[in-house]
Symmetry: C2
């Protein structure tokens, strides 16, 4: 299974049936032999705007049915025009006194079937006008241009005027004007795969239709910028010839089906970079609008923008798939407010505390190899190195006289900052959280013990580990508990050691580095983080 | 070149730079070392709602920045958490007296970096609260759940309350409530391809994260229905256990990046078919919301719906990528008004005209092989057969006494209907257009010659061919011209023949079947359609 389909024959009907659950539409009964999608709220006093064609271009055309856009869509099989009878039934369903406009993409099948339906409808007394969309600029002059994604702009403009209550001629003339002012061209890195088929996709091509027919030329773009250039050069040349080289455009970047959001972002950036700033008035939010199933490509459409067209394209609609028009703005930037690297250590000094720090630092540096060895049994073997790096960074700060050893809160902050910058890894951030949160609590008046407890709370909150998860918390939390109980440093160290030793008996780890390790690999091995914490307190107690 | 990227390192910045041209956002300067996307219109008196994480999930998170949703997004490298410094800078940029909410997906890197930033911000006096989103239900109980696409619903709900002017605790509590009420799980047919890499994608997997890490289980869905079942069964089981089996949900169907519009239509249909009707309250319009680059898969999220949540999700936003919430409706259908196959031939009879028809019919049936042979020189060799089929159908109608030979308009209509139903091909539709439009003109009082001229106009309009394009028009138009000049039938036949013969000299064909044929293949060959028309008039003249 390579694609999320059921039976290939069900693709079109399932798409319509799901759309009918979320869009303001009604569908013709599934066994009726035709596929009509009609706006539930259509006001018969307004001009009906109908379009359609083969399926495989979703969200076109059914996704554009709704207030302010299409009154109805007539849907064929994949890449096959709907029948004359289907188009005629759609006209009967929607066309009142105000008449009906057919918007037809310029493919022989659509032109003929919609055309005959229009004639038959006229015979039945319906007022019908048709507009043919032929926006493709890739074919030679002698050959009739095809209808591409620009058709969606004609839907929107016609739907706008119909919703305003304009008469048939006004709606049709506006649609014709739109159709006469469209230039489109597509490019793809690989062709479409039809449901149920698994043909090797073709190579990159320029000048594609939307029915997987081969493009006008095989191309070999070197990157996204090059692909956009291949599309924009002939497009701008044609548009300049038709509309003058001062014209400012509405741009439509259509995902032919297979481009990722990230690719569309890059392509849009290239389009806006390569198009002169004053040539772009507004843009339809890039989206899959007129797709060729999963074709990995895009098409670009340019349409000269005037106020009437912009107003018509801006008006809100209830159709599900219209992504909206956006003005093009200059990309505003700002200078972010980053932390001043001001020299720390602006507070008081205290020799006793500096001494304690040196003891703890020495303990961690001495334990480096043992801790790495412990870690290697269950992890990547760098706990000792990481802790030693942090310890060395603090020793350096002491040597630089950059620690406020006489001010608990400032000292905790300074240590927190050093650890987040110099220690690295998750442990560095976690210990930085411990010290930073401790500093906040100290400033709020907490005792040292309670402040450390608050810091440890934050470690648990952000780190996600709790006591019993085989992390340094298993030694740290008992030690802090003993401190809060005002026990001696020796008792504190004993509590930390007991907690660390217990980690050797914890088989199941719920968070932290051991969470993904097999239980039998953990048995009998002390967590190296907890061991580090115990070593620090033992050193302080005996130091 | 397999993907529309430039240098892999530019993907993230180009996406943001293009977004900044169409969205109400400002970005941090590109060389600032951090990537911040801030809502230009942010009101500092409102709570700032920030989110972010690694890139590669576009449109998340920057696409959701705008009025009513995120105040800002902090963007890392592809699949890599942004730095503590970046998060802190975003807080400084947006957080006023009202405070700031951080919405964090539950991945270690994000949790720690956003966590430490929150603590540092608190130290600087900012009021900051954090909400962790962990909606993935695919991992074992012991392992912390990851944050998936449900995060977007938390963005929307928090943004709604912030825009309402709620205080930080209200916004954060609403976001926490949302985060506590999410269940998500993903499935993919193939894994993501990172820009610049070209690794073989992995096989179908269930229970994916969004960083291309392997899923919880390899699976082998047989079709789209099966894939949806694999996702919905554990999802509903978990949701029922947590929220009760009566809960009605908001459904979010997230395109992980590589699904076509057609596939999403089928998947949505399956979801809505497999979920009990009364369990679905509303749905976010399916879209790529939290992607994993081009991963060919989807995730489903369920969130119990209450009125507050629906109101928050319904509110409009100015963010580019929020696709809107839609109520789920019953799919309404209607019986299309198809043409009654009423027995034709309700008008008068005229023996002379019946005679003429028989002559024309015989001429076409006799010419079958010759016309096929002519066609085979430049086309698919079936013109004679197609015309003979049409002729036989009309002969059958004559034999059934089903033609109103005594009423020109009715007769033209009847012939038009028979040709559109029985003749097949483009020619059948084209000739049906000729006769149907002729009938309309006759009813409006035109002479037979003028009515035929009007019919031929419509053929040109819908068929796209004109005189000189090597089609049957090259014989038909001169014949009609002679009729309009009231010339004898012999003169009419002579005009048709001259027109037909001229097609042998037309090298360049602009429309019709010869448009795509090499010029040298056309030289000296009469167009078989034109030949058919000449034969009919010649038979009538001599008959």
């Amino acid at each position: 299974m390579n694609y999320f389909f059921n039976a290939p024959d069900d693709v079109v009907d399932q798409g319509l049936s799901s759309l009918a659950r979320i869009a303001p539409i009604r569908c013709s009964e599934r066994d009726s032999g035709v596929r009509l999608v009609i706006h539930s709220g259509h006001d018969n006093n307004q001009v009906a705007v109908l379009s359609g064609g083969g399926a495989g271009h979703e969200p076109a055309h059914a996704g554009f049915v709704g207030q302010g856009m299409l009154t109805g869509a007539i849907v064929g099989d994949l890449f096959a025009s709907p029948s004359v009878e289907a188009v005629l039934a759609a006209i009967r369903q929607t066309c009142g006194e105000a008449g009906c406009l057919l918007i037809v993409k310029n493919y022989t099948g659509d032109r003929l079937n919609f055309g005959l339906a229009a004639e038959k409808a006229a015979r039945e007394g319906y007022q019908v006008r048709s507009v043919l969309v032929a926006d493709d600029i890739s074919l030679p002059e002698a050959v009739q241009a095809r209808g591409l994604a620009g058709t969606v702009l004609v839907h929107k403009i016609a739907g706008y005027h119909a919703a305003q209550g304009a008469d048939l001629d006004t709606v049709a003339d506006a649609a014709q004007h739109a159709a006469d002012n469209l230039c489109s061209i597509g490019i793809a890195l690989s062709s479409a795969t039809l449901p149920g088929q698994d043909r090797e996709p073709r190579s990159p091509e320029l000048g594609l239709g939307i029915h997987n027919e081969p493009g006008v030329a095989e191309v070999d773009p070197s990157d996204a910028a090059d692909a956009v250039r291949m599309v924009l050069e002939p497009l701008l040349a044609k548009a300049d010839a038709r509309f003058g080289d001062q014209a400012s455009f509405v741009v439509l970047l259509n995902n032919l089906g297979g481009c990722s959001t990230q690719e569309i972002g890059v392509l849009l950036d290239e389009c806006l970079a390569q198009l002169p700033r004053d040539r772009v008035a507004a843009i339809v939010v890039p989206a899959p609008l007129m797709t060729s199933i999963n074709m990995h490509g895009f098409s670009l459409t340019l349409m000269p923008a005037d106020n009437d067209i912009l107003e018509a394209l801006r008006a809100p609609v209830s159709a599900v798939a219209w992504p909206g028009l956006r003005d093009i703005t200059t990309a505003e930037t700002f200078a972010p407010s980053l932390t001043d690297r001001k020299p720390p250590g602006g507070g008081a000094r205290d020799e006793q505390r500096a001494q304690w720090l040196q003891v703890a630092i020495a303990a961690l540096i001495d334990a480096r190899q043992e801790l790495d060895d412990l870690d290697a049994k269950t992890g990547d073997g760098d706990t000792g190195s990481t802790f030693a790096d942090g310890a060395k960074a603090i020793r350096q700060a002491l040597e630089d006289d950059a620690l406020s050893t006489g001010d608990d809160a400032m000292l905790a902050d300074e240590i927190g900052d050093i650890l987040s910058l110099e220690m690295g890894g998750s442990s560095g951030v976690l210990l930085s959280i411990l010290f930073t949160a401790t500093a906040v609590a100290l400033r709020e008046g907490a005792t040292a013990a309670d402040a450390l407890a608050r810091g440890a709370d934050k470690m648990q909150e952000y780190g996600g580990a709790q006591r019993g998860d085989r992390t340094l918390l298993d030694a740290l939390l008992p030690a802090i508990g003993a401190l809060q109980d005002s026990q001696s440093l020796a008792e504190v160290a004993k509590a930390a050691r007991a907690g660390a030793d217990e980690t050797a008996e914890i088989a199941q780890a719920g968070a932290g580095r051991s969470a993904y390790v097999r239980d039998d690999a953990l048995s009998g091995v002390i967590d190296p983080g907890a061991e580090a914490v115990a070593r620090v307190w033992e050193a302080l107690a005996s130091g």
